[in-house]
Symmetry: C2
Subunit: 312 residues, 2 copies
């Protein structure tokens, strides 16, 4: 086993790349653009070249490298096959084999980006010390990744951890990004919290600082911290809905911990005041003691997790 690992986090506009030692200490970090033209044909060759250039720059031999891990925005199975990533122009093929070939046979492992981020948080972030956890990313949407015994749960078609699309509310008139109605993402994402806030404000004239500026997840939780009663009502509803979803996931997979990340998690531990009590209300007793922690790696979770893919 070589002493280095590369972790690659492939996004729609940028590829984040990291060089790590096998203990997970980052040695170097850089980015290249994601060139999506020609059905995304240039993406993996660009990544391979960036890795080779870095190896040349640092005088790293192929035998010094344990392998290259890559997280991609689409469903990836346990064998490294991608099942379509429309926003990269990609169809169905083996990322693992293709990138390995471009790297002269180097070991490559591939995973879905949300799952890979969960693995990163387990290795070196908010999930350190746990081997079974659920990472929940509260951003523009709600994403998730599930780690069981230190490994990503990939599922039969790479569609595990789709926590944002658990059905929570009946009779929701608006439509979720997935085409359905009442998904968790509609209430627990950054945009979802703003939706809850706007609906609450429209209900009556109760005074709240939220009437004075932008409505966002940040403004709601800033107001919560200042004791704003209407903001607290919104946070209670957010917590109730999110906890219902997490309790359902816990009933299925019985994790040790939930790691909460994404933009909304910048609100900090105050989030847990509104999630944990409802979680305990809804969850089966066997999973009642699951821990709640905040993600720590931010945008770097993907490169850490990708590197760890090779070491798992």
């Amino acid at each position: 086993m070589g002493k280095y690992v590369f972790g690659v986090d492939l996004g729609g506009t940028t590829v984040k790349m990291g060089l790590f030692d096998t203990d997970g200490n980052v040695q170097d970090k850089w980015e290249i653009p994601t060139r999506k033209q020609d059905a995304g044909k240039l993406i993996l060759p660009d990544i391979a070249e960036a890795i080779k250039n870095k190896m040349a720059e640092k005088n790293i031999e192929a035998s010094d490298v344990t392998g290259v891990g890559i997280g991609v925005p689409g469903p990836v199975d346990g064998a490294g096959m991608i099942y379509k990533a429309p926003n990269l122009g990609w169809g169905v093929f083996s990322i693992k084999d293709t990138l390995s070939e471009l790297l002269g046979g180097m070991i490559v492992e591939a995973g879905n980006d949300a799952n890979v981020a969960a693995l990163g948080e387990m290795w070196r972030g908010g999930g350190k010390g746990y081997s079974s956890l659920v990472m929940v990313t509260l951003g523009t949407g709600v994403g998730g990744g599930i780690i069981i015994n230190g490994k990503i749960l990939t599922g039969s078609t790479g569609a595990t951890g789709e926590i944002g699309h658990i059905h929570i509310v009946d009779g929701e008139p608006e439509t979720c990004g997935c085409g359905k109605h009442g998904c968790l993402e509609m209430y627990a994402s950054a945009t979802g919290i703003a939706r809850l806030a706007n609906r609450r404000l429209a209900k009556d004239d109760a005074p709240t600082v939220l009437r004075n500026g932008d409505i966002s997840a940040k403004s709601v939780f800033d107001a919560v911290k200042n004791g704003d009663k209407v903001a607290i009502e919104i946070a209670e509803q957010f917590g109730d809905y999110l906890a219902k979803g997490l309790a359902s996931v816990a009933a299925a997979v019985n994790p040790e911990a939930f790691v909460i990340g994404g933009g909304v998690s910048k609100a900090g531990p105050v989030l847990f005041d509104y999630i944990v009590k409802y979680y305990r209300e809804y969850v089966f007793h066997g999973s009642a003691d699951a821990k709640f922690t905040l993600a720590e790696l931010g945008n770097d979770a993907g490169i850490y997790g990708a590197a760890k893919l090779v070491l798992s």
Copy 2:
């Protein structure tokens, strides 16, 4: 590897036992009583003795036996530790090590009974051909077992697959066996379907054959098959609630198939008319194509799955 495996299904009153070849063909099947006195101290010695007696009777040497699998009614972790089984009088100990010692060092694997039944159905029952599935047992309660890549998902405290305790209904005044309110089990178990039926009948005077006799899951689905409109309404509500729970599980683990067992499943394929359409309504598209099948092994799922534990 020996050519035989024993599968043991430990229940509250009876221990079911099976002798299998390693392809899963049953060679013999028998039962012994579960002696629960003295904090359940006699149970494992009784089982060990029954196995030794069977080996003597059939002239089977220890070297002919690959191992002994056992399913027990309580949470069991991946290492064969039981975390309390109150109705057996058991506390926390290693079933795997204890039974192995009683059998002169034979290989022993232990699992939770619902999980083990799921493994049995995968091996030789309704889940044959799938390696990732969720078994749902609709009996007095609603139980579940999750198989991922051919192995039981055990979770951090052995509390996986607790599908019956997913929160489905807000504001339920009655209390579930678990102490909470609105769990799936309250509507999708045999007693749950009777609850839905009684509530529907109390709502108005709509004519239905259900007013003429016992209200049970069986009488409801018999009436459904005869086109009884009220019974069909009840079945729709059952299907809606159950599908919500299964769609949540699918969002987490993305299985290839759901295998439906337990007493309620005796209604047969008509069940799927009321489950699958709601499942498709609620589930994330990546799991929309999961198959639905009926369990086939009935009360023998436990011994099959226990035997398979040793071979997985």
